[in-house]
């Protein structure tokens, strides 16, 4: 933008016109000193500081110089001083013709000679005699040209700016205009800037939480001993990798029935949130069958009761469902207004039901068929806290030495949950259909749980039912058969915000008309 300079600034760059030399006395023609000094003519004579004499004119008037000097000396002898007009006296041309005028009156001769010398010098010196005024004019002309050129350039730039603005999208123009007018908050103190900067997302944004519990239980089950037991130590990690990408990891350390500790990656998910309608996750996750399996994982502190419903027991706790899966899960909301519909679609390895095998297929599958699951959930705006859902799961199970079994699992739930109250209701139906054989086997189960918080205390009641089909080709080899049902009653006491003590009594009826009473005390905590 340096080119767009006010003309006056341009003019300021132009060197000033040469200083006007002092005006010569009347009758004397001026020309630069340099021309005189550098003139090689030996007859040059400079008679005063301000008197300039043309060398050529002096040559021509050389003959008359003696007469002039004679007159000057005569005047000097008479007055005793030099003539005042020394320039006049010295500049008179020494012209032979002036001899003809010797006899004229003196004043007339002076004027005549002066006029003739002026005319002669003007004609012989040419433009150099008027170099001062001519040069200034030329400079002014040049300056005017420069100003005109600068003005033309400015006009051209303004036209270009208009064209650029016209080609910009309207939104960009508005934004630009808005930015120009946007108010900017005043400078914040350093500590506030630091806090605001800290609040802005920084990636990766790692958060670590832990969950744990200790249990004491006693029961009248045959062969069972009352004992203290370390529960699962759950290391839960989340990390935002970017605005839309996050990581979730749940690692559990627990002791088995042999009292040996083992560590297991219960969940490991890379989640990409593309929009409210599409979220993609890959890794190991809890299968979206029903409500309890996705709402509660391995942190006992979150659960109201001491343990999970039998229907949703973990695989290594004689559970019947594929609680964990390794694969891809896609979910999001469905535009449905106040209904608040959501969907979940999953594809994974499924579960290995072979006795002695690891139930969760973490790195390999025992067949090419992938388990698929689809769930539709509704979380209406009113009443807030209500959630209902249906899910359908299908897998083709490969059992060692046995025909393949088509496994289908249908589940439904209706849950009402607020910060101080919960009423959970779920039911599931498993269908195992061996290929090439008649008859499918059905396993059903349900539970209902209600809890109300009174200050720090939260009493709760659960009733659950599970009926595993006899001779089920999948579950019978795992020794999971028969009927179990019964109530559980308990009390949760949140003695701090992040630690709770649970007391629960279970009365469980078995299919063979036996019943078991069990008492459990469990402090559970998060950190």
């Amino acid at each position: 933008m340096a080119a767009i300079v006010a003309p006056r600034l341009v003019l300021a760059a132009v060197p000033r016109a040469a200083e006007e030399p002092p005006q010569p006395p009347h009758g004397v023609t001026r020309f630069p000193v340099e021309a005189v000094i550098n003139n090689p003519t030996p007859s040059f004579r400079r008679t005063s500081a301000t008197a300039w004499t043309n060398a050529d004119s002096l040559t021509r008037a050389d003959a008359a110089s003696n007469e002039s000097e004679t007159e000057t000396n005569q005047m000097k002898n008479k007055t005793g001083s030099e003539p005042t007009d020394r320039a006049t006296a010295s500049s008179q041309p020494r012209n032979k013709c002036s001899q003809a005028t010797r006899h004229r009156p003196a004043i007339g001769r002076v004027f005549t000679r002066a006029a003739m010398s002026m005319l002669l010098m003007a004609s012989l010196s040419g433009p150099s005699a008027f170099a001062g005024p001519s040069q200034s004019s030329q400079e002014i002309i040049e300056l005017k040209k420069k100003v005109a050129a600068q003005e033309a350039l400015i006009q051209e730039l303004l036209e270009w700016k208009k064209q650029v603005e016209a080609s910009m999208p309207s939104a960009a123009r508005k934004a630009e205009a808005g930015l120009e007018k946007r108010a900017v908050p005043p400078e914040a103190p350093p500590e506030e800037r630091a806090v605001v900067s800290e609040a802005r997302p920084h990636f990766p944004d790692l958060e670590f939480h832990g969950f744990g519990d200790v249990t004491y239980h006693a029961s009248d089950r045959q062969g069972d001993k009352n004992a203290f037991a370390l529960g699962q130590l759950d290391f839960f990690i989340t990390s935002r990798l970017s605005e839309n990408v996050s990581l979730l990891a749940e690692n559990v350390v627990e002791a088995g029935s042999d009292n040996e500790f083992k560590i297991e990656i219960e969940r490991l998910l890379l989640q990409v949130s593309l929009s409210d309608y599409l979220n993609v996750a890959a890794g190991r996750y809890h299968t979206a069958i029903g409500y309890y399996n996705t709402a509660y994982h391995h942190g006992q502190w979150f659960q109201t009761a001491v343990r999970r419903p039998s229907l949703f027991a973990f695989e290594d706790d004689d559970g019947i469902l594929p609680i964990h899966n390794v694969g891809v899960s896609i979910g999001g909301s469905i535009p449905s207004g106040n209904l608040g519909l959501h969907y979940v679609m999953e594809v994974g390895n499924g579960r290995d039901y072979n006795p002695g095998s690891a139930p969760v297929l973490n790195i390999s599958d025992n067949d090419d068929y992938k388990a698929v699951n689809l769930a539709i959930l509704a979380q209406p705006d009113w009443p807030s806290g209500l959630q209902t859902g249906l899910s359908g799961y299908h897998d083709r199970l490969t059992l060692n030495g046995k025909p393949r079994v088509d496994q289908s699992i249908f589940a439904g739930h209706a849950v009402y949950k607020t910060p101080k109250f919960e009423w959970l209701n779920e039911a599931a139906l498993l269908r195992h259909d061996p290929s090439g054989r008649d008859g499918a086997h059905y396993t059903s189960g349900f539970y209902t749980q209600i809890a109300q918080q009174f200050g720090l205390f939260e009493p709760y009641l659960r009733y659950q039912y599970l009926h595993v089909s006899d001779n089920d080709p999948v579950l019978s080899p795992l020794r999971i058969t028969g009927v179990q049902h019964g109530p559980s009653i308990g009390l949760r006491y949140d003695f701090t915000d992040y630690a709770a003590l649970k007391l629960q009594f279970d009365h469980t009826f078995n299919g063979n008309h036996d019943s078991v009473n069990e008492f459990t005390l469990q402090p559970a905590f998060t950190f």
Binding site: P185, A188, A199, S275, Y285, Q379, P419
Partner: protein, 177 residues
Amino acid sequence: MRRVIIQSALAILLLVGFVFAQEPGRASAGGSAPSTATSGEVLAIIVNKDNPVDNLSFDDLRKLCLLRRTHWDNGRKVTVVLLESPHAERELVLRKIYGMEENEFDRYFLQGSFTGELQARPKTLATSAGVKRFVFNVPGAISFSRASELDDTVKVVRLDGREPGDPLYALKLPANR
């Protein structure tokens, strides 16, 4: 048998009634009903100036605050920022919009991240000036500010079509706060 059925039906009816009695309702959890504290200062909803939203229903506001809705219509990620406790603004938002107490608020977002349903939680800042500065700088931010502290650096959003100065505006601080 008849007695069992009648008693079961009565129990279910009592339970259902008990359940709906627990529903905080739009009045106590916010909503568009007039606030009882009519002489208090108004709490305005503020967003970044580049955010195209001009009006939010109470249900939409609640979904945004609960992070059940994670993106604005322009695709920007929703970032909720609140004043830290024990500011009156935060207490009003927790009571009216979230319908939760402080520990319930923490538990909700902890459980949300635990289930994987929520990938972020509301930010917390100490001063209202810091909140406005955050909203100014973050395109998808939404927060709350006293109407008396509003300036041109943020944009005010209507709630259920009502401006903060409307007598029926829902978010009003108690008179003594």
